[in-house]
Amino acid sequence: MNLELGNIFIKDVKFGEDTKVENGTLIVNKEELISLISEDEHLKSVDVELAKPGDSIRITPVKDVIEPRVKVDGPGGIFPGVLSKVDTVGTGKTNVLKGAAVVTTGKIVGFQEGIIDMTGPGADYTPFSKLNNVVLICEPKDDLKQHEHEKAVRMAGLKAARYFGEVAKDIKPDEVKSYESLPLLKSVEKYPELPKVAYVQMLQSQGLLHDTYVYGVDAKKTLSTLIGPTEIMDGAIISGNCVSACDKNTTYHHLNNPVIHDLFDKHGKEFNFVGMIITNENVYLADKERSSNWAAKLAEYLGVDGVIISQEGFGNPDTDLIMNCKKIEEKGIKTVIVTDEYAGRDGASQPLADADPKANAVVTGGNANEVIKLPPMDKIIGHIEPVDSIAGGFDGSLEKDGSIVVELQAITGATNELGFNKLSAKGY
């Protein structure tokens, strides 16, 4: 399974007559985009705004962030099972508008979360402040139920990302990166001297605003399974998860999963990256037992020496994380877990809701309870009212001058549990 990612660097975004890429600028035909997204009968109105690095703009509440991509060569299309047929993706060539993103905003519930500041101290905590963002503001028809509202905004973001991706199909990329995934036995044969490593990715799968889809299938209805890491780069996993802004994985995170990219970087040099397992995080405890049993069984079957396990979300996924870690360690396989912390505002408390002595190699994405003051911005895209009721915010979070005092958990991607952020901690 070989995939070439062709990155087309986007350095600016602006409105214009035709949607296209010109000298590194993404030009957006606003009316055409609005009419595409407005096709959804559940939406009353759609508007589009642009937010560039350095702009005095606050986007909130953020639902999802999506990177525009397009299949240039090879089977299937982007977001298989959702926008394209369910062909197996992950081979051939895919072009990427690197540096651009679609951001969706819309108040699905009254306590909707997620802030992206394009400048100021808050911008340092979110990777999305460095992108040229096309922001979709989707307002629902009156009395639209939350489930349908969530789906409408989720699909709007994916459709817009595909729309921009299409214009990149015939462009010669600025940079091409190749990712090679061999069948297990061939991989072992090719690098017999290197330790074998796999990646176990845990997917949020609990219910409304807590869901993830794999080839269009609701992850809570899946058993732990094997997936090619390059399939993820073509959008095999998408996010329907928009609670816990700091440590939810947006679709952008999935497409650019840094664990996968780092494993590929060292593949064939320091270790042999032989495969990837995805497993869910359900509410029912017997589901957690079953899924972690299967993740451990698959890791053992692959015959690996070590695995990296990444988590998604707060609270009960800590139990899935520890179950996965413990059961895989019990198979004689070393583990490293990637998580984040809710260690209290002073950072001194036990950070996870579960623990085990076998979880002795941990990468943290930072403490989500840490408090930050975000100064006012000239422009708000979305709805500012939920900030007073955002996770990590509180009644009175929003000050009269427009500044906000919040915990880091309010900022989209601040303590990401794939490590797609800058916060961490080191032990000496």
């Binding site: 519930v109 219910g207 609670v243 609270g315 036990q350 809701a353």
Partner: protein, 122 residues
Amino acid sequence: MKEIIITNNPLVKEELEKIIEVEYYNTDYMEILKKVRDRIHKGHKLLTHPLSGSVKPNETPYKSIMVSMDKGDLDTDSLITIENSIHTAKKFIEDLKTPDWSEEILFDFQTIDLTLIKNAIK
């Protein structure tokens, strides 16, 4: 296995009591965790994770947890999970109390809690 849902969410009572045993209490989040802990000491088994959902314990006022109707010997795994959950919830609530939400937001929290527990009904 027969199950009981212990909840302070009126929407869970309204929507689910026809299909499953629901014990409703007009109380707060922490009290629901404690009621479940007491049940575990009496030999009921914990069936859903007490910290279901990524909505924080000092954010949502609602909690619904499923335990077994049958009683047996004390299940230590259940006990460890509920005690860890109480410890985690306390950490949040001590730092910051749950705000007084508007009716509209309360209904959203009820809806989220309902979908989380509904997905656990087999």
